[in-house]
């Protein structure tokens, strides 16, 4: 197995290959930046499982569109946004976002499997929906993905303060006139869009690696808002771009590289964060003596 893995690599004509995947690298970079920004709120609102749920339900949307002979990317995007909005509306009342997600997720996956069963085409198409297909993105798709990712990032930055306020202290934010429930819905729709975009890069199953892990890592080592965002974007960008650049040397798909790199970053941040905290407690203890 190791031999098979090792022999799958080749550095011959690397830059020629790289030219071919330029679109993918650019897309991954922009999606990484978006993931870094929105990920801060995903972690803050403990919505990691929701991301996974939306991704799986978006798979049902994609499968439905495949079955109907329509654009798969559009199908997954619509599925993701619809799922996210539905979860948002249902969770406003009881704030149990993960419970609502856990109820909707198997239903969405079940539908997806049904649609794929009914589809008469090649099975390779089915697998691509789950593990990502970015090496195959063309110019038009690249443009669409980048525009949507930039749009989502800009909206998040514009609503940053009220969204942060209602994520940290919903009671006080509501009292100060922030439309907490409306912001929850807006955030969920943006999240749906972000998931739909990321599914194109790493597939439904691994979307957490791009949206959740980088900011979770950043939150382990930094607390200043700006530093958290910059680190989180940097981590996401690095895992996505480096993942693709290594992947094109061989035949192993992109996803394992991206997930492994982002996981390693997380582990390093976890350890660094522990040391920081230990040092911090030592300083506090000293100050109190």
């Amino acid at each position: 197995m190791i031999e098979r893995f090792a022999s799958s690599f080749s550095t011959e004509n690397y830059w020629d290959l790289f030219q071919l995947v330029q679109n993918s690298v650019l897309t991954a970079a922009v999606l990484g930046l978006m993931g870094g920004i929105i990920g801060v709120f995903i972690n803050l609102r403990r919505a990691g499982l929701v991301v996974h749920g939306i991704a799986e339900i978006s798979f049902a949307g994609a499968a439905l569109f495949l079955l109907m002979g329509l654009d798969v990317v559009l199908g997954s995007a619509l599925g993701a946004v619809a799922a996210a909005a539905l979860i948002g509306v249902l969770s406003i009342r009881d704030r149990e976002v993960s419970a609502v997600t856990a109820v909707l997720m198997p239903f969405g996956m079940g539908l997806g499997i049904l649609f794929l069963y009914l589809y008469q085409g090649r099975t390779a198409n089915q697998f691509g929906l789950l593990t990502g297909q970015i090496v195959g993105v063309d110019d038009i798709q690249t443009r669409t993905l980048i525009s949507v990712a930039v749009l989502i990032s800009v909206i998040i930055i514009v609503i940053w303060r009220p969204l942060m306020f209602s994520s940290v202290d919903p009671q006080l934010a509501a009292a100060r006139g922030v439309h907490v429930n409306l912001l929850t819905i807006v955030f969920m729709v943006l999240l749906g869009g972000a998931v739909a975009m990321s599914v194109q890069v790493v597939g439904a199953l691994l979307v957490l690696a791009l949206l959740v892990v980088p900011s979770a890592a950043a939150l382990k080592v930094a607390r200043r808002p700006l530093v958290v965002v910059l680190l989180s974007c940097g981590f996401a960008l690095f895992s996505a771009v480096a993942g693709i650049m290594i992947a094109i040397m061989g035949t192993v798909p992109i996803s394992p590289y991206i997930t492994t790199i982002s996981f390693l970053i997380y582990v390093v941040c976890l350890l660094v964060g522990r040391r920081q905290r230990a040092r911090y407690s030592a300083v506090t203890a000293e100050a109190m003596n």
């Binding site: 803050l44 930055i157 006080l172 009292a175 100060r176 006139g177 922030v178 382990k220």
Partner: protein, 261 residues
């Protein structure tokens, strides 16, 4: 500036067939300190929600500083009940105060020089300058509550609403927070509405008491309301109020138990 800080006329809140409280009429002058007491579920928090514009009255009117209550008015400050912030909250102490000042605004999250000076000033007022740069998640409950006080004072409110702000704080922080609230009332002429289980930590500052129980209520000075016969009538069961060294001990089967100081 002659408008009362707070004026309720025949105010009532009903949920379906259940009347939480009704016929509440009270007028608070600037600088006045009102303690709102009563057992759990009697409608103390709902009273605050009405004043914050988060709960509509079923009957009557409520005015704040001469205008009908409105959600998000910067003339109304609010200190919510303490809850510990997550360790990984990506905010420093001063960022949290900044949210109190500008957290409702859309647009680029850029803090202006003017706002920065105001935040420094607020941090000084609540004595939080020393930990201004520290992550909020590592601060103690008392330190976090001081920051919430700073958030509430950000708009220099004419009416300050406090929802059990001393809950789960140690004596030292209780005293500091009480002092802050009192200063806002006395020095700046704000009226204070202070919801609490426990009147003793603030008893020396209280001008009037609004006591809710079993759908009824009483308004008056501490001496008028905190009496055995008044509370017994309110609870419709025997309640005894004992004064001991300037502290009040309320005892009865239907109150929320013995009040300690």
């Amino acid at each position: 500036m002659t408008d009362p800080a707070l004026q309720l006329e025949g105010a009532a809140v009903r949920f379906g067939a259940r009347t939480l409280w009704s016929d509440v009429s009270i007028s608070l002058e600037r600088g006045e300190f009102l303690a709102v007491l009563g057992p759990n579920g009697a409608g103390k928090s709902t009273f605050l929600k009405v004043l914050l514009g988060l709960q509509r009255l079923s009957a009557g009117t409520a005015q704040v500083l001469g205008k009908p209550v409105r959600r998000g008015s910067h003339r109304v400050g609010y200190i919510p009940q303490h809850h510990q912030l997550e360790l990984e909250t990506p905010l420093r102490a001063r960022d949290l105060v900044a949210l109190g000042l500008e957290g409702h605004k859309y647009g680029l999250p850029w803090v202006s020089h003017k706002a920065r000076a105001r935040i420094d000033d607020l941090l000084d007022q609540v004595g939080a300058r020393d930990y201004a740069q520290r992550p909020v998640g590592v601060l103690s409950g008392g330190e976090q509550q001081r920051l919430r006080a700073a958030q509430a004072l950000a708009g220099n409110p004419g009416l300050l609403l406090c929802d059990e702000p001393l809950h789960s704080l140690d004596l030292n922080h209780q005293r500091a927070i009480t002092e802050l609230i009192r200063r806002q009332a006395v020095d700046r002429g704000a009226a204070v509405v202070f919801v609490t289980h426990e009147i003793n930590p603030v008893i020396e500052h209280v001008d009037r008491v609004l006591y809710f129980a079993r759908g009824a209520h009483r308004v008056g000075t501490v001496q008028e309301v905190m009496r055995s016969e008044v509370l017994s009538e309110l609870y419709q069961s025997p309640v005894e109020v004992i004064e001991h060294k300037g502290r009040l001990v309320v005892m009865g089967e239907h109150s929320e138990g013995t009040h300690h100081d």
